[in-house]
């Protein structure tokens, strides 16, 4: 039917963030070997324990095999054809934002993340990462007054080596999986957050990751530690230029929450997704995990995944502390030839632990969108509970949606609930809205954001508006 075709067209929108910043960069040669890793470590003036951490990870990685269980189809990645360190050339030591290359500031301006004192966002502290390095972090002094540390991880390695040595790799060990091992060997930059005991972080913290260079991978590493009775809300955004080659992004994020601490981690992922023929786009292989170490600690993941040619991502929670809580709220939108395999793992170890999973997958075009999740309740996790809800929405008749829930319970005294549904935006629903004067595109986007409401409600307010707009943009296009 006529409208069925229109639905296919409607999910087209040119990628707004596809520009390249023309800037002189310092790149090392392509390829991956021990010397390269030593070189990265040396460039970052790292202590020995970190070099050892990297080399050990590299040895493990060499023995590992790229996972294929997600059934994602992509051309084999040549790991020797990637540049593992690329940084814009800047003065050696930057003491203030005034010394940051104006081109870089302009880039972040264009992305809607102004960094300069006059223009910076008033209620969010931002760490801006450009290719392999952190460019600037705003509001550092204000945060420091509260004892909050928010800086690039490279800086943390220099100034807070004890914390890094104590926690790095304790949530996602280098041997955890192929991409985590790779990241552990070559990670370049990312954010570090430390919230001291009893402190509620006075503002949202945010990292903005920008890939600029076409032939280098981005391997960022983020570590967030929330001490006893502290809390923080952290946001993450990502964009990249349009290249007709694929760029590898393999990040690791580790969260640690101690007694009564809470961490809310929100992502809006809008990496370049490739064109309608599936050419180009980011390969997004990410390991995100939080450890609820303390009693009554809480880790909440919310994500809006709209970009990347391939998304392979399972933000998870290890619920060790008694009565600790894990949450996962996800919206994944795929279009054209995008493939997303995303979900979560909720590992209940401590007693009376609780987890909630709400996943909304929207597949349009010829895309493939899968939810893959594991709920595991261990022998000691008496009285634990999980609730999962996985809904899929199909737009058009060429897209596919799958749900792969894995449930393992070793504890009879626990409760696990799983609900799943699949729906299609029906012609009748669209006609109903249209017959009330609502434009076709707006009708589609109303229904999609209605479908995602449960998840959007979990996002920080400004982020929710942005996510709603982003989905609308992705769904906007040439109708008729």
């Amino acid at each position: 039917m006529v409208k069925e075709n229109l639905v296919k067209d409607v999910v087209k929108e040119p990628y707004k963030y596809g520009f390249v910043t023309d800037i002189e960069t310092e790149k090392i040669e392509k390829g991956l070997n021990e010397d390269i890793i030593r070189l990265i470590s040396q460039k970052k003036e790292e202590p020995k324990f970190l070099l050892d951490f990297r080399l050990k990870a590299f040895k493990k990685w060499q023995k590992m095999k790229e996972p294929d269980w997600a059934g994602l189809g992509y051309e084999k990645i040549d790991y020797q054809d990637i540049i593992y360190y690329s940084a814009p050339k800047q003065k050696e030591k930057i003491s203030s934002l005034d010394e940051v290359d104006p081109k870089l500031l302009e880039t972040f301006d264009k992305l809607g993340i102004p960094l300069t004192e006059q223009k910076k966002l008033t209620n969010v502290a931002v760490d801006a990462v450009f290719d392999s390095v952190s460019i600037a972090t705003t509001f550092r002094e204000e945060l420091a007054e509260h004892g909050v540390i928010f800086c690039s991880i490279s800086e943390a390695v220099k100034n807070h080596a004890d914390l890094i040595e104590k926690y790095l790799g304790t949530v996602v060990p280098a041997s955890d999986n192929y991409f985590a091992a790779l990241n552990s060997a070559v990670f370049s930059d990312g954010s570090f957050v430390y919230i001291p005991k009893g402190v509620t972080c006075p503002m949202d913290l945010s990292s903005y990751f920008r890939i600029n260079s076409g032939d280098s991978g981005q391997f960022e590493r983020t570590l967030i530690i929330a001490e006893e009775s502290s809390s923080v809300s952290y946001l993450e955004g990502c964009t990249a230029p349009m290249f007709d080659t694929n760029t590898l992004h393999a990040a690791v994020v580790e969260l640690i929450a101690l007694d009564d601490a809470s961490i809310k981690y929100s992502t809006v992922q809008n990496w370049y997704a490739g064109d309608e023929k599936g050419i180009g786009g980011i390969f997004n292989f990410v390991t995100k995990r939080g450890k609820c170490l303390g009693k009554r600690s809480k880790i909440s993941w919310s994500q809006v995944e709209t970009g990347s040619a391939i998304t392979w991502k399972y933000p998870s929670c290890l619920l060790l502390g008694e009565e600790s809580v894990g949450e996962f709220y996800s919206v994944a939108l795929t279009n054209n030839l995008q493939q997303a395999d995303t979900g979560t793992k909720m590992i209940h170890i401590g007693p009376k632990t609780k987890s909630t999973i709400v996943s909304k997958g929207i597949s349009a075009g010829n895309s493939k969108n899968s939810y893959r999740g594991l709920v595991k309740i261990g022998t000691k996790a008496t009285g634990s509970r999980n609730y999962s809800q996985c809904d899929s929405m199909l737009i058009g008749d060429q897209a596919s949606a799958n749900t792969f829930p894995y449930i393992k319970s070793q504890q009879p005294n626990s409760e696990i609930e799983h609900e799943a549904s699949t729906c299609r935006i029906s012609e009748d629903q669209l006609f109903y809205l249209q017959s009330r004067g609502i434009e076709f595109e707006e009708a589609v986007s109303m229904m999609v954001s209605g479908f995602c409401r449960d998840v959007f409600n979990q996002l920080p307010m400004e982020f929710a508006a942005e996510a709603d707009k982003l989905l609308a943009l992705k769904l906007e296009g040439s109708v008729g």
Binding site: M1, V2, K3, C423, S426, E427, D428, Q429, F431, Y432, L433, Q434, S435, R436, G437, I438, E439, F440, E442, M446, M447, S449, G450, F451, C452, R453, G480
Partner: protein
């Protein structure tokens, strides 16, 4: 017969309209003209093409017009999108109003009302002004404010869905309203509320087409004309007493007209 000696131009004119879906002809030459202030009833067996006629006038994409014209305020609207028709003042009250999960009824009504207002060059309403307007209109259909915070039609009873349709009609103030079996599934009280709502909204400048099986709605809203449809055609047109006769004699009686023609 009705088109002679009218003082004003018709709001809606359907001229010799034929239409099909999946190459199956459904309408086979329907003609109908609705003038300001008129109420028309269309009756007929299930499957005779009544609902199809209403959907085609509203622009449903599943049907192809194979012959004839639909004119609204003198303009041919055959190729207009459904939303353009709605914005310009054509309203279709659905026989089975559609559920839209996750979309709040209030937001839906506001976006819809503003689309119509924009067309009329009226100022679009923000959430506060709209609250005021909708409160007033809720009175007409005796609906509770709580309906607004629910998802569009989701979990509504049959009667609530129909009242929600009339609420939309009240907000959109259409030039012509086609109400497809709005009376079906209503108890007597709900029927009265709906009927009195329709009467309040319509006036000497608007036209109404009631598609119905039952006399009881026509007792409440007396039509100027009654059309009987069969197999995609209007086989008989009369005044309101035709409906009474039909109620007595049943549709079998009308089968004779087909034989005659």
């Amino acid at each position: 017969m009705q088109s002679q000696m009218k003082e004003s131009d018709p709001i809606l004119e359907v001229e010799n309209l034929s239409a099909s879906t999946d190459n199956l002809p459904i309408l086979k030459g329907v003609s109908l003209a609705v003038y300001p202030g008129e109420i028309h009833a269309i009756m007929g067996r299930n499957g005779c093409g009544k609902s199809t006629l209403s959907k085609i006038i509203a622009g449903h994409p599943s049907y192809n017009i194979t012959n004839g014209d639909i004119k609204f305020l003198g303009e041919n609207i055959n190729s207009l999108e459904p939303e353009e028709r709605a914005q310009s003042g054509i309203f279709l009250g659905f026989q089975y109003p559609i559920e839209i999960p996750g979309v709040s009824n209030l937001e839906f009504l506001r976006v819809s009302t503003n689309a119509r207002r924009k067309f009329l060059n009226k100022e679009e309403l923000d959430t506060f002004d709209f609250e005021e307007l909708v409160k007033e209109k809720l009175e007409i259909v005796k609906m509770d404010h709580a309906f607004l915070s629910r998802s569009v039609n989701q979990g509504f009873s049959g009667g609530e869905k129909k009242r929600n349709e009339i609420l939309q009609m009240a907000l959109l103030e259409p030039k012509i309203a086609i109400l497809d079996e709005t009376d079906s599934g209503l108890d007597i009280d709900a029927l009265r509320i709906v009927a009195s709502g329709i009467k309040k909204i319509s006036n000497s400048q608007t036209g109404i087409i009631l598609i119905t099986h039952y006399q009881r709605l026509l007792d409440e809203i007396k039509p100027n004309y009654v059309h009987v449809m069969s197999d995609g055609q209007i086989i008989k047109t009369g005044e309101s007493d035709l409906a009474l006769e039909l109620e007595k004699k049943g549709y079998e009686w009308t089968d004779n007209f087909i034989k005659e023609t």
